[in-house]
């Protein structure tokens, strides 16, 4: 199977297998991506993040349905944490999107973090490109946002939607985790629950304090995802964000920034791998470790030694 060719002619099986090849780091993955790259850059990538239980998957499902009504094709990447103990995962986002399984204009892929959040970022970015090359108009990337690395995943998006819910104890907790700064649109889900007004007000207050020189103030949209309420308005807010960003040039700026970070990340990885391979070839790494442990040498000196040798 010429996977790149099959994918470009519309084979969903090929799309699925290419994603696997990238995820599992098959030898032919690089070649395939090389062939697909020219076909990327068209899709509108929307990141959806927020605390666990905030309704991200349900919201993704509803948004996808809205986009389908608009005649757009939708790719969805649902990211769930891998157990650090067993290396396994229950990828349970798809269960909220059952209505979409048989829609030929939708493709849903679940991914586990597999213990390397930096690595996942790259694999998610590659999967976005794969879906893009396959012709998806919209790509939703849905992941739990509780830390910096999950934030990195959604930074690959053109528009970032942060989902919050009222009544999670200290409503500011999620905001403190740093996701306030990355939000382009806020969605307060389960807006029929107690505390929604307070959360809304607190959000607006924080946005007021954090008002930067940018021309886009993230709107706060109330939704009730499992009832399909507020979805059109949310989709409109997202559309407005992208229109504004294109007009102001920020869209291109962000994409350039993303490409830059991607190149740097790939360089880091390849150089790191090169150094590690050289280390295992040379065979004296264990010895060096021993000299550091015994305080005979410092780790700083050893690293410099190694680099001088390897990068000669």
């Amino acid at each position: 199977m010429d996977m790149a060719k099959e994918l470009l002619s519309g084979s969903r099986l090929a799309m699925s297998r290419v994603i696997t090849a990238v995820e599992n780091e098959h030898d032919n993955a690089g070649d395939i991506m090389q062939q697909l790259y020219a076909h990327t850059g068209k899709a509108h990538v929307i990141g959806i993040t927020g605390p666990p239980g905030s309704g991200k998957s349900t919201l993704a499902d509803q948004l996808a349905k809205e986009y389908r009504l608009q005649g757009k094709t939708v790719g969805i990447i649902a990211v769930d944490p891998t157990s650090p103990f067993s290396g396994g995962a229950i990828l349970g986002d798809r269960i909220r999107m059952n209505d979409l399984t048989l829609d030929e204009g939708v493709f849903i892929r679940s991914m586990g973090t597999r213990g390397s959040l930096g690595g996942l970022s790259r694999k998610t970015a590659e999967t976005i490109k794969i879906m893009d090359a396959a012709g998806m108009d919209i790509i939703l990337v849905e992941t739990v946002g509780v830390g910096q690395s999950e934030v990195d995943i959604v930074k690959t998006a053109d528009t970032i939607v942060v989902v919050l819910v009222p009544g999670l104890g200290d409503d500011i907790q999620a905001i403190k985790a740093g996701i306030l700064e990355i939000a382009d649109v806020f969605a307060i889900n389960k807006a029929d629950h107690d505390g929604v007004d307070r959360l809304n007000t607190e959000l607006e207050m924080m946005l007021e304090i954090n008002q930067e020189k940018t021309d886009w103030r993230p709107p706060v949209q109330r939704v009730i995802a499992n009832r399909g309420e507020g979805i059109k308005e949310l989709a409109n807010a997202i559309a407005q964000h992208i229109a504004q960003a294109r007009q102001s040039g920020r869209f291109n700026q962000r994409r350039k920034e993303r490409t830059k970070n991607e190149l740097l990340a790939m360089l880091d990885e390849k150089i790191g791998r090169h150094v590690r391979n050289k280390l295992s070839d040379e065979g004296d790494f264990d010895q060096l470790i021993a000299t550091v442990e015994s305080r005979e040498k410092t780790p700083y000196a050893v690293v410099n030694e190694i680099l001088t040798k390897v990068l000669r």
Binding site: F85, G88, I90
Partner: protein
Amino acid sequence: MEKRVRILVAKPGLDGHDRGAKVVARALRDAGFEVIYTGLRQTPEQIAEAALQEDVNVIALSLLSGAHNHLFPRIVELVRGKGMTDVLVIGGGVIPDSDIPALKAAGVAEIFTPGTRTTTIIDYIHANAK
């Protein structure tokens, strides 16, 4: 290499009891597999399509309502029809021993009836999944 075995745990038909499926799903996760659980009341078409999108190595079907003789072979048929020739299809639930040969002939690799240890299922997958 970063390979993980991906398993779709699916509940076909109108059977509403998924405690067993969830127990198996958790055991599989603890064994290091990536488990995608479809939820209840899946049609064979939904299961086959989910298996394709997720490019799973194994489809584990759970059925307690007695419709396995129709649904399991139908799912195998759809899965092979989509070009997924290497996917291992296994099943469990309330399945009489006398039904098992026919199910195997239809392409279900193995059936794990109530009382099977989860370790048995895990070992089987390790040995047989491609």
